[in-house]
Each structure stands twice: as C-alpha cells, then as structure tokens.
C-alpha cells in the first residue's frame, strides 16, 4: 500500500499493449499529482498472468496495481466495478481517472454510482486549486464549455477525452514496483458474457486514436472518390473519417462517422474535405488541434472553425496535396 494522497489511473491493456489514451491519462495524472501533492498509481486489470507493458511501469508512476481475475480477460465493466470498488474503499485514492473510450465511458458512471461519488466525463482540462479539483468539458455539441468543481466526496472520478492530454517527450524512468492483487468477483459481477470481440476489417486505425484524420463529406460526391482520401491518409498515416450523410448513404462505415451521433475526435490535424461544417459535425471534431478545410463554398461554416482554409474543388485539390505530401515526407 502506498502512503499519502493517491491518484489512480486506470490503464486499458489489451494483448500486452496499453492504449494511447491510457498513457495520456497517466501523463495527466502526474501533472495533477504535482498540483495535489499526490502520487500516481497505474491500475491495470487483466486475466491472471498478463504482462504489464513497459511503458505503463516506467512512465513515472509510483506503483502499478495489477488486479487479476479470469473474468477480466475481456473488458467487463460489471466485473470491474466489483473489483475496483473494494480496492478504492480500502485505499482511498483522491482521484480515479481513465480515458473516455467506450469502455471507460461505461465503467466510470457505474463506478461513480457504486461509490456514490462525483464524475465528470470527457474532460478536456483538469486542474487542482487549493486541493479542489476542477474539470472542464464540452457541452451542447461543443458550443459551450462547462467547468465543474468536485465536492467533498472521494474519489473524484474523471474520464479524459482522447488525444487532448498528450504527453511530451517524457524520459523513461525506473520501472515502478508492481503490486499484484488476485481479485474476488462475486457471482453477480460475472453476469455479462463477452462472446466475441470483432475487429474491424483491415489495418484501419480507429479514428478516435488517430493523430491525423482526413474526413470526407457530401462534397466528395460519390463513394469511389473516397479513394482520394484513402491515398492521402496512406501518405500521412491518417485515418479516414466521414460526415453523417456519407455514412447514411452507405459510402462509409458508421464507425467512421464524426459528429454528435458519431464519434468524438481530437487529432492533431483534421482535414475536412467537402464538409459544410454543420454544428452536429463540429460537435465531433472542434477540439482538434489544427483544422484544415477544403470546400468550394467560401461561406461554408467549416471555415469559421478552420485554422487553414482552401477554397476550391476537393477532387482537384486532394491529388495535388497527396503528391506534395509524398514529396515532403519522401514516400
């Protein structure tokens, strides 16, 4: 057991690899730890015998809490609540945080209800002032930001929007000690059976995890033209996103849809191609670091949020961009 104030960061580990967003959460945890005078514990829940990835143990955390149970082979929030609640109750961390992945978004509210504590989801900024924790998060499709302050109950639970709390180049530290806990999960924590985990076809990078996204809207005009986006994405190591009507038309898969009824993304670079910039689309991408818009209509609302705008025919511009990037990146 660790002395003093603790921040727990739940790291999602799958197949020996930690999710990038979990590394971001670990990084954010350490920054917050500095403000709160707290140490960071990386919490990893797996089936017995799974390895802890090196980058979790040596990213600067004080310790790794490795919770094991056969029921944790696949992610199972019902089981995780049963596993985590008693640990939290006995070790009293100030904060429990995790990435706002689909799994994190399910687990965090369940844990908050189980412990009877406060939760702020999909946060884009967190900090502590005089021991009080504040979290900022987008609301109303990103049209506003709300800042919450947590009350007296502990722990405060947070989920962090992916790609926002990106670590700089942190020098690898010494490997933190790993404490292994063999969990006991009551029968009712094992009521869900994950029968199959289906991987999306191909090499495709998930859009929520991509650093660069090239995204196509109705201005792409037909499904075949998405090949132009695929080519640019290939050169940039990007993922391909889409607006809703594109998905509704069956041109792209739903998992590629960016926006309020699709996915929320925050890449370093978002290239919007033939996308008008409706508020529901902006809801999913306006926290991107740099937005480039290509649209033939100079009055398209997407230009209001774009850092760089190109007015013109996307079908002509894309091949030129791809060729130029190829040259610059020497591919």
């Amino acid at each position: 057991m660790s002395e003093g104030k603790q921040i727990w960061v739940l790291a999602e580990v799958l197949g020996g690899q930690v999710k990038p967003v979990s590394l971001e959460a670990l990084h954010a945890g350490q920054t917050l730890g500095g403000e709160l005078g707290a140490t960071v514990t990386a919490v990893v829940a797996t089936a017995p015998g799974a390895e802890i990835p090196e980058d979790v143990a040596n990213c600067g955390v004080a310790r790794v809490l490795h919770i094991q149970h056969a029921g944790l082979e696949t992610f199972n929030s019902l089981a995780l609540v049963e596993v985590l609640a008693p640990q939290v109750q006995s070790q009293n961390p100030e904060v429990v945080m995790m990435g706002a992945t689909n799994h994190g978004k399910e687990l965090a509210p369940a844990l908050a209800a189980r412990l009877g504590v406060g939760l702020a989801t999909d946060c884009i900024e967190i900090h502590a002032e005089g021991g009080m924790l504040k979290a900022r998060r987008p609301v109303y499709a990103g049209k506003a930001h709300i800042t919450f302050q947590f009350g007296d109950t502990r722990p405060c639970i947070l989920t962090l929007r992916p790609n926002v709390f990106r670590p700089g180049e942190t020098p690898a530290g010494d490997a933190a000690p790993v404490e292994t806990v063999t969990a006991d999960i009551p029968e009712n924590g094992l009521r869900l059976k994950v029968k199959e985990v289906v991987q999306a076809a191909g090499r495709k990078l998930d859009i929520t995890e991509a650093r660069i996204i090239v995204s196509g809207g109705m201005g792409m005009q037909k499904p075949e033209n998405f090949q132009l986006l695929e080519e640019l994405a290939e050169v940039l190591g990007a993922a391909v996103g889409a607006s809703r009507p594109v998905v509704d038309n069956g041109w792209r898969e739903y998992s590629n849809q960016v926006g309020q009824t699709g996915r929320t993304v925050s890449p370093d670079l978002y290239i919007a191609c033939g996308i008008s910039g409706a508020v529901q689309h902006l809801a999913g991408m306006s926290s991107s670091r740099c937005i480039v818009a290509i649209n033939k209509d100079p009055n398209a609302p997407i230009f209001d949020v774009a850092d760089y705008g190109i007015v013109g025919d996307v079908l002509e511009i894309l091949p030129v961009m791809t060729a130029e990037f190829k040259k610059v990146l020497q591919k």
Binding site: K19, T74, F75, S77, L78, V81, N102, K105, E106, A108, P109, A110, A112, A113, G116, G118, L119, T121, D122, R136, R137, V139, Y140, A141, G142, K143, A144, H145, I146, T147, F148, Q149, F150, G151, T153, R191, L192, K193, V194, K195, E196, V197, V198, Q199, A200, L205, D206, E209, Y254, S255, Q257, Q260, T261, G262, A278, V279, Q280, A283, I291, D307
Partner: protein
C-alpha cells in the same frame, strides 16, 4: 415484457445558444426528444410490434414541458408514460438524476430498460450505467444490435468499441444504452400523433417514489458548476 425507456428533452442541436449568468438561455429555443432516446423508443416499439404483447412505458424526469417529449415518444408507438415531476428534482447532478429515475423505476414493472447513449445537451453519458448500478442490474452501453432470447430471459447485444465491436450476452432485466446504428427511428404518423393524445401520462412526485429531497436533492450533488462559457475562439 415490460419495457421501460428513459427519455429526456433537449434543445435542438441545430439551435444557436446564448449563455447568460452561467445558464444557457433556453427560452424560445426548439426542443426535441434526445436523438439517442429515439433509437431506444424505436427499439422498444419494434420489440412490441414483433411479439405483439410487450408494453412500452416511457419515463422522464424534468419540468412540465417534458410532456411534449413524452407525447412524441407515445406518437412513435409507446403505450404510456410516467413523468417524474417535482421541484425537488431541479438542479440535480447526473447521479442525482439517476437516483430519481431509479426510485421511479422501482415503482414500475420492468423486464428491460433502454436509455440513450447520452443526452446531447449535457453529454455526460452517465445516467444509463449509473442507473443500472443503483438498480443492481447488468448493463451494456452504446449498443448497435439487440437480439432477445426466445424466453426473453436474456439478450445478445453488439456494442461498439474502438476499432471493432463486442458481442455480449446479458441476463434480463438489464439496462442498455442505445447508439446510432441500432435502428432507424420512425417519424410518428398522423394516426400515431392522434393516438398519443389519448395515452396516459402518469405524474409521480418525490413523495410518490419515496425520494427524500432533504437527503437526495441538489444539496447532495457531488459536483457543482463553476463556469459555463463559449469555447475559447480558435
């Protein structure tokens, strides 16, 4: 089967919003049934239409104008609605809302509870899983497919994850949160709209559901709003 669908009214996401004194000026803005809750209502109505015997009950906690949203769901084919309405429910954080819903739901028969993935105003995506834990039920969020077992004692659902999906079997009753892809919500027909006018909306207040404003009201919130502002300009 008794299917409960939790629905919330939200400001139409297309509407421009103004913020004054830390509040969104909602006066006069168009309000709609939360888009994700439409998937939930649609799925429930389809189950009923398929088995010809299930009952679909909508439940909503919110001010008086939430009745419009309940009518909309009734027009889509839900059978009846429960409106949790009491000044004591105002100003609650999401866990508080889940507590009110849980208290309301305990007074009703239920074999399956459907929610939306998230409400598109506050976007917390908290109420569904929190509600499930309060009710001691299993839960699966962001589902894109729902297949009930023949005996309706369990369900197989597909949920979206990063880079793929999971196929999960859950016993019932359970709380499921609905995601786009589950179905195509119908537009209410004229007949549906007329029929909805005659359907029952039962109103339950704090006392009726055993909710104690002193210990469970907004003073028990675990988070407080300290700021609401337009995002910084790019």
């Amino acid at each position: 089967m008794n299917i409960l669908v939790c629905v919330k009214q939200v400001i139409d996401t297309g509407a421009a919003i103004e913020i004054k004194d830390g509040k969104v000026q909602s006066e006069g803005l168009p309000r709609v049934l939360n888009p994700y809750d439409e998937f939930a209502v649609e799925e429930a109505v389809r189950i009923k239409e398929t088995d010809g015997e299930s009952t679909v009950t909508l439940i909503s906690m919110g001010p008086d104008n939430f009745k419009d949203t309940l009518r909309r769901g009734l027009a889509m084919g839900a059978d009846k609605a429960v409106h949790l309405l009491d000044p004591a429910f105002e100003g609650l954080d999401s866990l508080g809302v889940a507590q009110v819903l849980a208290a309301g739901i305990r007074t009703l028969d239920h074999d399956l509870i459907l929610c939306g993935r998230q409400a598109v105003d506050d976007d917390m995506a908290q109420v569904g899983p929190s509600l499930a834990v309060l009710l001691g039920m299993p839960f699966v969020s962001v589902i894109t497919k729902l297949n009930l077992a023949d005996d309706k004692k369990s369900a197989e659902v597909t949920r979206q994850i990063e880079g793929g999906s999971e196929i999960i079997e859950t016993p019932l009753p359970a709380v499921l949160t609905c995601q786009k892809g589950l179905n195509e919500p119908r537009l209410p027909s004229l007949k549906g709209i007329m029929a909805a006018k005659k359907k029952e909306i039962a109103v339950l207040d704090a006392a009726a559901i055993g909710f104690d404003p002193a210990t469970q009201g907004a003073t028990a919130n675990h988070i407080t709003q300290v700021d609401l502002a337009k995002p910084p300009a790019r």
